[in-house]
């Protein structure tokens, strides 16, 4: 009993009429890693925010080391030695690592930054981090920033660590390093809660798994007795087929050829560096890379939204057989050439849809130029909107409800539905399943496969390497704006992709210098 680090009893939290958590019971022992598993919107983050003092539970008790506590603010949480590492880092970009670590602490005596830097290094050596305490956050990689966050809570003496989706932004190698560190902390007697929805990580790392479903506490199981299938069943409430279909490509012909394209940002930093590849009709080309390696610029270049410094983008029109140059053309000019290109951008409500407009109006963004009268023609778009809502099972009060009020998965269905409805010959989707639950994700994979079978050339930018390997035919790995390699998805491994992501031909040279 003495070994229970933190215990939750009957925690309930409502936001208005929405129940985010209902009667959750949880126990974490010292020297134990517990995974908190659940789909998006199942209340994992809300629950953890109550432990870290951001929200206050409506009902229930929190016990730390066997004593009941009331946690009203993040400051209180530190007092009880609880530290939370948020998914979106809470760091001041302009400060150094050490300055971020000491932020908000009342220290004794004079403020000496060099002493704090020394203490940061001590913690860093103890657990095997690798960090320069003087380095500014804006010069750091995502994984370094995460390290600073972890050191920050350790510096505050945290014995209970909560990590909110810590691996979402890491490469497989970085993930392994993080897991090693977490294991070392476990050996040191810390209690660790890790929020995730990646099942294989749960199985690999944790001792116990607690599952939430729609705010309700389903149960806790020992990881040793669990399998991916059993956990999914707990999470979703029914059996889900976890295999992604991959139909063989039929008669692939080249649809798009990108040759030696370069582009720079305003500071003259190269965002795309001599990128060449081609996409075939009837195939899915996956693009893998660390966030911000040029994926966005690459898709925008093809869609006519990014100015290029050199190179060319050739589209083979399957109807006429003509070759069209897409470089330096606006999206409208591209469409007028007869190129049927659909683009599902990363920023759904920023670039893809207008949040304040309903489904119907959003359909019209694609079609408002049609028609001869000066008045808009609404009949077609309304029909299309209703068809998408029905076929893709979009949950919305009506076709006129502003799309920003829909959940992430439904927004994505509306966007993908609109893009597919224009029967494209080239479909580009950036992170189409980001933030979606398992059911919606599999629906999106099916839609992409359907397009592939119709002979559409599909470009799929993804972050989950397992999905990329299972869904795509070929995978283009990009790192720092350079193409590392194009590999066959059927024969590759996650480690190979991870290695290519961080070790581009250019990058290797740069790191040798």
């Amino acid at each position: 009993m003495n070994n229970v680090a933190i215990e939750l009893r009957g925690i309930t939290k409502c936001f208005g009429s929405v129940v985010a958590n209902s009667n959750v019971n949880l126990k974490v022992y010292k020297g134990e890693i517990l995974s908190l598993l659940g789909e998006n919107g199942s209340g994992k983050t809300t629950l953890m925010n109550m432990i870290s003092g951001i929200y206050h539970p409506d009902q229930g008790h929190i016990l730390v080391n066997g004593k009941e506590v009331v946690i009203n603010s993040p400051h209180d949480a530190f007092e009880y030695k609880i530290g939370m590492i948020h998914q979106h880092f809470k760091l001041v970009d302009l400060f150094s690592a050490a300055e971020n670590v000491v932020l908000g602490l009342d220290g004794e005596g004079r403020f000496k930054l060099d002493e704090i830097e020394k203490q940061v290094l001590e913690i860093s050596n103890k657990y095997g981090f690798n960090i320069d305490p003087k380095k500014k956050i804006y010069d750091m990689s995502v994984s370094e920033k995460q390290t600073v966050e972890i050191i920050k809570v350790l510096y505050r003496g945290a014995d209970i660590l909560i990590l909110d989706e810590p691996t979402a932004v890491l490469t497989p190698q970085e993930t392994q390093k993080l897991f090693d560190i977490l294991r070392r902390m476990r050996a040191d007697g810390k209690a660790i809660i890790i929020i995730t929805h990646k099942l294989h990580e749960v199985l690999e790392l944790s001792d116990k798994v607690a599952v939430l479903r729609r705010g309700e506490y389903i149960g806790t199981v020992n990881t040793a007795e669990a399998t991916e299938e059993s956990l999914t069943e707990m999470m979703v409430g029914k059996k889900v087929e976890l295999n992604i279909n991959r139909p063989e490509p039929v008669n692939p012909t080249e649809r798009l050829r990108v040759m030696n394209i370069d582009c720079k940002n305003r500071d003259g930093v190269k965002l795309l560096d001599n990128v060449s590849f081609s996409v075939n009709a009837g195939e899915i080309l996956g693009i893998a890379g660390i966030a911000g390696s040029g994926q966005r610029e690459l898709l925008e270049a093809i869609a006519g939204l990014q100015k290029l410094d050199s190179g060319s983008i050739i589209y083979n029109n399957p109807k006429t057989g003509a070759e069209e140059e897409l470089r330096d053309k606006s999206p409208l000019q591209i469409r007028e050439l007869g190129v049927r290109l659909s683009f599902v951008p990363e920023d759904r409500l920023g670039m893809g849809l207008v949040g304040n407009m309903g489904v119907v109006d959003n359909m019209m963004l694609r079609s408002y130029r049609r028609g001869k009268s000066i008045f808009l023609e609404r009949k077609g778009p309304t029909e299309l909107a209703n068809r998408i809502i029905q076929e893709l099972e979009v949950v919305t009060p009506s076709a006129e409800t502003p799309v920003r009020r829909l959940s992430g998965g439904n927004v994505q269905k509306v966007l993908l539905g609109r893009e597919i409805s224009s029967s494209p010959t080239l479909l580009m989707a950036a992170y189409p399943v980001r933030g979606l639950d398992i059911n919606s994700s599999y629906l999106i994979y099916d839609l992409l496969n359907e397009q592939k079978k119709k002979g559409v050339a599909v470009i799929f930018v993804g972050e989950d390497l397992d999905v990329l390997i299972d869904l795509c035919d070929k995978i283009l790995v990009i790192g720092g704006g350079c193409v590392s390699d194009v590999i066959d998805a059927r024969s590759t491994t996650k480690n190979e992709i991870g290695y290519l992501m961080t070790n581009t031909k250019k990058g290797r040279r740069a790191s040798d210098e």
């Binding site: 939370m84 001041v92 000491v102 220290g107 403020f111």
Partner: protein, 334 residues
Amino acid sequence: MFTLEYLMGFVATAIINGTPLLFGAVGEILTEKSGNLNLGIPGIMYIGGISGIIGGFLYEHACETAGITPIPILCIIVALLASLLGSTLIALVYSFLTITLKANQNVVGLALTTLGVGLGDFYGGSLLSFFGKDGSIYLEATSKAFKEKIPFLSDSLGLFGQTFFSFGFLVYVAVIIAVIVHFFLKKTRVGLNLRAVGENPATADAAGINVNLYKYLATCIGGAIAGLGGLYFVMDYSVGGWTNGGFGDRGWLAIAIVIFALWRPNTAILSSYIFGGLYVASSYIMGLSGSEKEIIKMLPYIVTIIVLVFVSARKKREHQPPASLGLSYFREER
């Protein structure tokens, strides 16, 4: 024509004209470091001036009625407290509206400048018409106390002493405050926390910093410092006199210096003197026509725009304004 005396005279005038700007700029830097863009600074400085006048007037008037000579140290204390009270109150209004009620900072700031100038002219005008002799008032005793030279240094070091040690004490106070604020921001925990609030309030909040408290304190203390610029202007520069609109556009110049000095209080010292010099340069260059004088008066603003262009083009992170400047902080709620 350009003798050493002439040049030193110009330097002294530049410092005298730069001092109100320095107070304003340092006050605004402290405020902006908390993420609050207080465009009410011109109004606050105006209020700082008129409050000092009212305080000094009440004391001198009371002494006159009682038939005693005003005591210099009391003159200073009364005027100083009145000025600090007036400017802090306006800064508090700004804080309440933007921090607690989360009103738009630009709108509130501009409104307060209009309000401050209006209030100043109202009370100043009333004072002049009720108590003024020939439509003007001069607080002789108070002004004399504020203008007191440093006794020994001012006349023992020759021209140097005459130039640099002949100012009223507020000139030195301005420099000292600038240096203190510089060290506060750079070298203390509280300064680090304050900068974090201005850069990323959500992070500061999660780190257990009371964001609203920091914003309130920085804005009110910043307002009080800026108000001293108004006090210096009326008591020292204008020799204890008040004219409606006399403060001119110095408040805006102070905000321009904040940008020119790249949000660094230590750099603001020299910047303020440069701006003070440019402000009066037109009367030191002889044989200028009216329009040429106006063009020279524009120089500070043109220089500020050029600096702004250079800074944005270079994009050095340390030279940018606080990242959340001008934004109200809402704690994330569902």
